[in-house]
Symmetry: none
Subunit: 276 residues, 2 copies
DNA sequence: CAGGGTTTGGAATATCTGTTCCATTTTCAT
DNA sequence: ATGAAAATGGAACAGATATTCCAAACCCTG
């Protein structure tokens, strides 16, 4: 017991339970079956509530956890919770998880693993949340503009600069309002109501981005925003806005979902503009 | 208070929070923002742990819940938990299921679907192919450099500009060699063998990128390359190179995998450099 | 700038939760 | 059938948790 190889991730624990289930005492097998069939209950319930539903004593749950090598039920429950949690394991947890898998090849591999997982999760989550009609409206709005003003600084600059490049290739008139030369405000002042703006900003919202978007809005230029919360300062300014929540690893936010949305907007707008 | 219209489902609660957030006291607004941005933490954390992460007092969480009409925090938490229960599948399971069926509404949704699919595929494939030892060597090489010269134009510019931004934040000396002002060649001529270059280029390889990388290599500056084929003109120049094959949709290449690799390099290099 | 109400921090408290322990029952080898 | 070992139930306990409460700080309004 306490073999120190207790899995920290759900997949591993699942395998362990399946493997050990048959040569466990009767009550504990009962717990094992229940656990695999109701993982959400294990994750969210209390010892008492789970025991009642699984028709065992609370102590059986603790014993079950211990027989799997965990210190107590709470430790096992943490693994079930990680399955529900939209959080990429951190550095140490990742290390712990890889122990024994014998593919520890270096710390940068861990970082890579973390970032790719964060990217996958971000994209999956956006895919679930994005409202297609909202997307359609945004495309329509932007496609109708004479010129599209792209606003994205700091972390969002890669996104806006990508769009500027791609729009250029696709023959869509656009202006990348960036900070080089400090002419941003002047550039934005050329915009009219026939144009449109696309502002991208995430916590902590760069004040220049917000100011520029505001400037456009005041000139009655419709603005589409990509941001990360309903409380973003871009939201009250924007005609339409998208909420993109990126998973993060070690405090660094993935940008995969935002980039995918940006590419979508670029291509869809270009297509729409060409057709009508 | 206790208006008996407290939502029991997450969507309703979300709307309520968004609506009420602005006319709540300062601390409670802070809680509202945190709650919407970290719903999983609210669902799974304890009052103490959440309070710490949101940087408020535990009592603020209870007050927040009550001001929304709930009896206490636990009641509010139950709603956040229901959201996790309803989400039947976890990310990996969902990822597998997404393949193929997704109800598509408009044509732009189709584009979105295509791009996210391409991004997911690219990341998955890089995850399989990437050699951890190669990654480790690249990190070591770059971390040892006095200054890192970042070369990426056109389509690769978002990547290199992201790295420049992140390196800057992390205190790693770097120069983004871009085309603005036509001074690229001069900038690159400052590099010495104590520095390192990172060149990013994909088909059709921008001639300036290749030329700049070549210039660095001739000055005995070691160059790490990110490119898409063993036949890339960067390969013979580079000390080390990564092959990143991005899936494409309608001829537009995803950049998700490249971006993930770029983020990995940035963070891993910064960490390595800090340690020595 | 004074005085009212509101908001906030932080300690005190009452409740709930996981865990332990031990007497009782079951199981199984002899 | 018998005794030892393992498993089980259930109550007792220790610790953690949500909640309450009150004094201090903070805003406004007049």
């Amino acid at each position: 017991m306490t073999k120190s190889n207790q899995p920290r991730d759900f997949a591993g624990l699942r395998n362990l339970i399946v493997a050990r289930a048959q040569d466990l005492p009767r009550r504990l097998t009962q717990v094992a079956t229940y656990a695999l069939q109701n993982p959400d209950e294990i994750a969210l319930g209390t010892v008492a509530s789970i025991a009642q539903q699984a028709d065992v004593q609370p102590s059986a749950l603790v014993r079950f956890s211990q027989s799997l090598g965990y210190q107590g039920f709470s430790e096992l429950q943490e693994v079930f919770r990680s399955r529900l949690r939209d959080r990429v394991l951190n550095y140490d947890e990742r290390l712990a998880q890889l122990r024994g898998h014998s593919q520890i090849v270096g710390t940068s591999a861990l970082v890579f693993d973390g970032f790719t997982e964060a990217a996958q999760k971000s994209i999956a989550s956006l895919r679930e949340k994005l409202d297609p009609q909202q997307l359609e409206r945004a495309v329509e709005l932007l496609a109708g503009a004479e010129t599209i003003y792209l606003i994205g600084l700091r972390r969002s600059f890669p996104i806006s600069s990508y769009m500027a490049y791609a729009f250029g290739k696709l023959g869509v008139r656009n202006v990348l309002v960036d900070a080089t030369g400090g002419l941003a405000a002047e550039v934005a002042s050329f915009a009219s109501h026939k144009d449109a703006g696309l502002a991208i900003s995430f916590t902590p919202y760069a004040s220049e981005t917000v100011a520029l978007a505001q400037q456009l809005a005041q000139r009655e230029v419709p603005v589409v925003a990509i941001t990360d919360s309903p409380f973003s300062p871009l939201v009250p300014i924007a005609r339409l806005w998208f909420e993109v929540q990126e998973s993060n690893f070690e405090g660094f936010r993935s940008m995969a979902a935002t980039l995918s949305l940006a590419m979508t907007l670029t291509v869809a707008v270009a297509e729409r503009a060409r057709k009508g």
